[in-house]
Every structure is written in structure tokens, then in C-alpha cells.
Amino acid sequence: MSLFSRKPKETVSITYISHTGATRAVPVPVGASVMEGAVSNSIDGIVAECGGACLCATCHVYVEESCLELLEPVAAEEEAMLENTCSKRLPNSRLSCQINVTKELEGLIVRTPEAQQ
């Protein structure tokens, strides 16, 4: 049994909407983060400077209200970083690197803020 075996991954569709309204729905593998899904599809508006270590607050997104209840609550680490977002923090603010993609998130919609840094 390999330590680093790789299974083909299922994907779910995630929709990213920019602050100007540009909308893209892309497939994101289950197990990736919403940030990784954005970066690997060249979605503008997500910078992810630290690569997903929850250290920079440049992958800030606003989660569509109707999807909020699908997400795990904000952990302490994310809470600390959310205080440092460049665009205004709102009740539906999340760091997309901390949203782990599961099958349940099929159809998730997030909006990217005007500025990340």
C-alpha cells in the first residue's frame, strides 16, 4: 500500500463571480480547497499568496447566503485572518483556502471581492 497513492478524484461545479459580475463555473476536485479550484482555473480575484496555509487573507470570498449552511464553521485560525482582509469583512466572508470541497458543495457560489491586497 503506497503512502502517497493517488485516486482519480470526483469533481463538483463551483461558480466564482467577480465584483464586476463576471461569472465562471468550473469543476473542482473533491478534497481540494475552493482557493485551489480558483487558482488552477485562473479565476481572477483570488491571489492566495501563501498557498493555502491560512497566513495571508488574500483568498477572501463572499459565500452566497443560500450556501452558507453547507460549510463547516470558521475555525480560530481563519477567524484571525478574516480580521485582516483587504476588502470589507461581511457576515458571509470566508477564506477560500479553508473551504474544503466535498460532494455536498456541488453548485457552491462564491463572490470575489474588489481587492485582496
Binding site: L3, E36, A53, A80
Partner: protein, 383 residues
């Protein structure tokens, strides 16, 4: 057509410089040249998520290929800049070809310091090297690590996490001595020992009978290209506070650059994502006519077992260390002071302290020892 910006080195710093140039509105040609074959990727996961098995080695590209096209960044991977002709403002590539520049950014990074006289030792800096370590880990029962710094300890933690029997030798008397104080060193020693890792200090005599040997004994800045071009070198490519080398048209950024630090008051070379990214942004700004001195607060992090250590500032030369919280709880910070001023803070599983410490340090480090130790004092009140 204008000559544009040539970036030698496609690691985190080089990549970020290209990205920031476009983000700042730079419209000329941008050429990013890297000597590895694959797309630019992140290095931190190599010793963290990839080794522990959480992150796929092929999922760490900084951006997909299409990104470079869309942003008109000419990517030349598998190529190395061989020489710089400062007179005619061109770089020559190994294997032929040259590229003219208006500005040249050196982001050549580092190479591993190698252990003389020992064959078959693994090192960890590139994706290829990480793949080799992963392959060896599959079939190794015992792992000997040389060097109790960040890389060595991250490898040790990952290997122990996979059930391997791990021993670490560290020539210094304590772990991560260059980066953290004794309290944090002691915490991580205990954490590793609880997870079965064995240590020997004050020696570099490694167990040669181990199934695999990994050395994390530091890196050496790649300065040959700059030196051959006659630029000033002293533990890295020497730059001024605006990150310009001794040639006004050539900048140096990231791991390879020795710059004057406003925090240490001396020349400094740092190997970190923060340093790479902030240098890159500073230089992109300068090229776009918004030149400013480099003043960013250094920060870095490491993940080992269940502990995330986040460091803000540089603790070297501290004269007092103050614990905030309870070390045994596995959630605490340590403030480092010199002459009554906060110069750095290590936070273990305390991200809020870390973020506040960065702001505190940017603002001058006005915090008393008493306030640092007092959990009823809100650190934010000192910013």
C-alpha cells in the same frame, strides 16, 4: 518594441514579480526564465503537505499554463540565464539565444548545502527531490535526518507520521536555533520525542545504517551569474534598500538577495515565501514608477505534527523572552525583546497572536514585557 523586464529565476519570487508587474499595469514584455522543467510551483508544500500525504505533488503549481498566456508572461522553463551583458542589456541563455532587457530582476534563489563525502543522501528543495524522498520513504523503515532546522524537522515529522523510525542529528545544542528561542526549541523537541523521533545534539555523525538519509543543512545563495557580471556579492547579491544591485537596471529579490534590514540594522538574507513575495512586489512597484524602500515585516511558518509555528519578526539578539499562555497546552506565544522593545514573536497554534504581532512590529514593537505575558491584556490594544 521596448525590451521589457527579464526575470531570471521562476521560483516564488520570480513568479510573483511577473504577476505583480501585470497587476501594477506594466505593459511591456515580461520574460520569466526558470531552470526547472515544470511550471513554477510552490516550495513550502514540498516538505509539508506533500510529504505528509495531504497534498499531491502535481497540485502545487502556482498557476496553470493558460495563466501565463493570458497575462502575456513569456515563460521559458528548462532554461537558465548563462550570462548578463550589462553594456548591451541582454542576457544570454545556456544552450543559445539571448533576450534584451530594460530591467533585469535576479531571482536565482539558492542551492542545497551538500554533505561532503556521503553518497545517496536526499536533499529537499525541488519538486524532483521531494518525489525522490517520497519514493524512498515507501520502502524505508528507518530514516536518519541531518539538521534540526525547519526542513529537517518537517521531514522528520512527516516520516514519523508514516510510522517510520526517525532519528535526527543536530550539530547545535537545540532545534531551529537560528530561528527561534530556547522555549520554542524545547517545545518542538518534546513534541517530536512524544511522536517517537530520537535526537542527538552537538553532532553531525549520522546513522549510516539507516534505510535513508535526508540532509537539511541549509542553502547557499546562487550568486554566480551576478558575480560574473561584476555585481557586488556578500552572502548573496547585495542590494540597497530599494532592492537595486550595484547596477541601477538590475534588481535582486528573494532568497538570493542580501538587503539592508530596517529590523536588524544590518545586511540580511532571508529564505521565505514572505520575503520572496514582498521583495517581488516592491520591485514591480519600482519598475512601474512607484519606487519605495523595502520595509516589510519578516514572517514565516512551519507545520510539524499538530503544531503550526508562525514567526513574526527576527528574534536574533533578543535579551528577554516572555511566554504568553501555557507551553504545555500546545497553544502559546513567545515574545522576544531587545532593550525593552518587541523584536519578534513565535506563535504556536495561536494565529491571532501572530497576526497582531506582525502589526505590532510594523508599528515599531511598542509592547512591554508585562503586557506580553498578561493574557488579560489584548495585544491589539498595543498596535
Amino acid at each position: 518594441m521596448a525590451a521589457g523586464v527579464v526575470i531570471a529565476g521562476a521560483g516564488q519570487a520570480g513568479f510573483q514579480c511577473a504577476l505583480s508587474l501585470r497587476a501594477e499595469g506594466y505593459d511591456g514584455p515580461v520574460t520569466l526564465i526558470g531552470d526547472e522543467d515544470s511550471l513554477p510551483y510552490q516550495r513550502p508544500p514540498l516538505s509539508k503537505g506533500c510529504l505528509s500525504g495531504k497534498t499531491d505533488l502535481d497540485a502545487i503549481d502556482l498557476r496553470p499554463a493558460a495563466f501565463y498566456e493570458t497575462n502575456r508572461i513569456e515563460l521559458r522553463m528548462g532554461r537558465r540565464v548563462e550570462s548578463i551583458d550589462r553594456q548591451s542589456r541582454r542576457v544570454t541563455l545556456a544552450g543559445g539565444g539571448d533576450v534584451p532587457y530594460e530591467y533585469l530582476v535576479l531571482a536565482t534563489g539558492c542551492r542545497n548545502r551538500e554533505l561532503p563525502g556521503v553518497d545517496g543522501v536526499c536533499y529537499l528543495r525541488t519538486r524532483e527531490e521531494a518525489a525522490a524522498i517520497m519514493e524512498r520513504l515507501e520502502t524505508s523503515e528507518t530514516v536518519a535526518v541531518i539538521g534540526g532546522g525547519f526542513i529537517g524537522l518537517e521531514v522528520a515529522a512527516a516520516a514519523a507520521g508514516h510510522g517510520r523510525k526517525v532519528s535526527v542529528v543536530e550539530p547545535q545544542p537545540r532545534l531551529m536555533q537560528r530561528a527561534v528561542g530556547p522555549i520554542v526549541s524545547g517545545f518542538f523537541r518534546e513534541l517530536h520525542e512524544r511522536n517517537g523521533v530520537q535526537f542527538a545534539f552537538g553532532t553531525s555523525a549520522v546513522d549510516l545504517s539507516a534505510d535513508m538519509i535526508v540532509a537539511g543543512i541549509g542553502v547557499v545563495p546562487r550568486t554566480e551569474l551576478a558575480a560574473a557580471a561584476g555585481l557586488t556579492i556578500a552572502n548573496g547579491i547585495v542590494v540597497d534598500s530599494r532592492l537595486r544591485t550595484s547596477d541601477d537596471l538590475i534588481f535582486a529579490i528573494g532568497d538570493c538577495a542580501a538587503f539592508p534590514s530596517r529590523f536588524t540594522g544590518a545586511m540580511l538574507r532571508l529564505e521565505s515565501v514572505q520575503n520572496a513575495v514582498d521583495h517581488a512586489r516592491c520591485v514591480a512597484g519600482a519598475i512601474c514608477g512607484r519606487e519605495a524602500g523595502y520595509t516589510a515585516v519578516p514572517w514565516f511558518w512551519t507545520d510539524q505534527f499538530n503544531a503550526k509555528l508562525q514567526t513574526a519578526g527576527l528574534s536574533g539578539g533578543f535579551d528577554a523572552e516572555v511566554v504568553r499562555g501555557v507551553v504545555e497546552s500546545g497553544k502559546f506565544s513567545v515574545g522576544y525583546f531587545r532593550e525593552g522593545r518587541l523584536i519578534a514573536m513565535d506563535s504556536i497554534n495561536q494565529p491571532a497572536d501572530h497576526i497582531t504581532a506582525r502589526k505590532l512590529l510594523a508599528a515599531g514593537g511598542n509592547l512591554t514585557l508585562h503586557q506580553a505575558a498578561d493574557l488579560t491584556f489584548d495585544l491589539k490594544a498595543a498596535v
